[in-house]
């Protein structure tokens, strides 16, 4: 729901970094978004397109989003297990409910490319 605001933040960060690195044209921005994050990739993409048309720096830029599956680690038997569609935070190996979410909550700006 707040993807536009998040994307504005992302583009501000890239803009500052581009200025510091004398980059005048960004060709790619890459984000990593965990599936348990509340940011929806489609909405992020839409927000990116809306903002990038107004900014010379981003005019020919594409947004690439890597989605991360939700991976849990069992505190009891250390087994790693992946979660899809329905989230069940119970170890599929030993049935323990003491599990840590070790992947799937990411929300970061990985890198950008430009010249």
């Amino acid at each position: 729901m707040h993807e536009l605001a998040l994307m504005q933040g992302v583009m501000e960060t890239v803009k500052e970094s581009a200025a510091a690195n004398s980059i005048s044209k960004v060709s790619k921005v890459r984000l990593v978004v965990g599936k348990l994050s509340m940011a929806l990739p489609d909405s992020m993409q839409f927000a990116f397109e809306v903002i990038s048309t107004d900014e010379e720096l981003f005019r020919s830029a594409v947004l690439e989003i890597e989605e991360k599956e939700v991976v849990c680690s069992c505190q009891q038997c250390q087994q790693l297990f992946t979660q899809q569609e329905q989230y069940i935070f119970v170890c599929s190996g030993c049935g323990s409910n003491q599990v840590d979410i070790i992947q799937g909550r990411e929300l970061y700006l990985d890198y950008y490319e430009g010249e």
Binding site: H2, G9, V10, S27, M38, A39, L109, Y111, Y112, G114
Partner: protein, 219 residues
Amino acid sequence: MVKVRLEHNILGANELLARKNRNIFSTQDLLVINLMSSPGSGKTTILEKTIDSLNGKLKLGVIEGDLYTDQDAQRIEKKGVRVVQINTEGACHLDAGMVDKAFQELPGDNLDLLFIENVGNLVCPAEFDLGEDLKAVVISTTEGNDKVTKYPLIFREAGVIVLNKIDLLPYTDFSLERFREDLAQINPLAPVFLVSGRTGEGISEWNEWLLREVSAKRA
């Protein structure tokens, strides 16, 4: 072509401010609860009943978050509790910066317990750390059983879960058994309180738990 690797946490600015809030709350031995739910689950009514039932046993403060209006803050103020209203004017969640500012405006000090009533929304508030000790998620029997599995992050993040409108249970298809089964798979550790904001049922158990948590924070 240059590749600039940033590995920049998009929520990093919020997390920095949340840490700052957490430090301030800790130095004051103040227990802070971030109260979250869908719109209309009864967060404000539960707060009203909690204030009545605690009957001055704790020094309370409330930060009210809403898109618009100060109706909730007025309801809390009538109970004689210090309250600050945040209007997000369209934003779907509170963030740590808003809470920082509101807390500075909250009159007086030496509070025991601060409730931050978030914007009614089960999606976005889950992701924004405000610096609280605990996230309390309220769900009501009239919302249906599917909410726990449809919004796993907020229920996973919850330190405590309150099922409201328990007085309406006989008139809904809400299954307590299924509710407990779903929670066992998503968040087996959070205590669950069954309450009615309308009749006051279950509020005293919830308050006893709050008193214990406040003592634990001070210890």
